[in-house]
Amino acid sequence: MRTQYRLTLEADLANLAKIRDFIDEAAAEINIASESVSEIRLAVDEAAANIIVHGYQDAKGTIDIEVRQEGNAVIIKLRDSAPQYNPLDAPEPRLDLPLEQRSLGGAGILLMKEYMDSVKYRIPKDGNNELVLMKTIR
């Protein structure tokens, strides 16, 4: 059983389903409980969608996703070469306002943070953006 799984693919919204399938496969091999898999799948989808829509915008590029088990946690890294952009800087939804007064964005970040134990952004040596999602699985 491997402890590291990697997928590199075009940063295209049509690939989100493929990314979700990849997470499901890696999670099954690592033997992660299904509720946690659902949470991780959503968080990774949100992260990837942000990279594609806000990072690359209309430009072409790739996303590199690595899933690794480390002790009792799973660590997922998403790397891309879009212009440097920290998705965690985006404002979160104003949950205090009535729905019709809130702007539409920010829910993806909120869900990532809700479902993962930690979400961190860094600028890697060999790319422009890296998002690291971590969740305790045992």
Binding site: P98, R102, A107, L111
Partner: protein, 120 residues
């Protein structure tokens, strides 16, 4: 793998006419626009009470919730005080997100079609 959404439109009568959008598939940022477009189309055709039937939706990311938010706001802004959106049979995962985003206090979810239609 195709991630096209299937959306069936039907009309029901409760106390008011209700337009049901029955969605099938997984809703994400690649296909949420088709749901938005369908909702806008029925709204422009006069629909003011929209029921989103999510029984066959086994996955929805924030992209889908953005559409719900947008449709809800469109109905609220219509000038008809009673216009609203309701949901039918959201999965447990979707219900959890409705709560996290605070949508559950703004529009209701139902587990039965007749009950949902009569709730408008």
């Amino acid at each position: 793998m195709s991630t096209d959404l299937q959306i069936e439109v039907s009309q029901m009568e409760g106390r008011v006419p209700v337009t049901v959008l029955r969605v099938s598939g997984q809703v994400d940022a690649s296909n949420n626009q088709s749901l938005q477009n369908k909702a806008t189309e029925v709204y422009e055709g006069g629909a003011r009470n929209i029921l989103l039937d999510l029984e066959n939706v086994d996955y929805m990311s924030s992209a889908g919730f953005r559409v719900m938010h947008s449709v809800y706001t469109m109905l609220k802004d219509s000038g008809d005080d009673n216009s609203t959106l309701k949901l039918l049979k959201p999965s447990d995962a979707i219900s959890r997100i409705l709560k996290t985003l605070g949508f559950d206090t703004e529009f209701s979810s139902h587990s039965d079609l007749k009950e949902a239609v009569d709730a408008f």
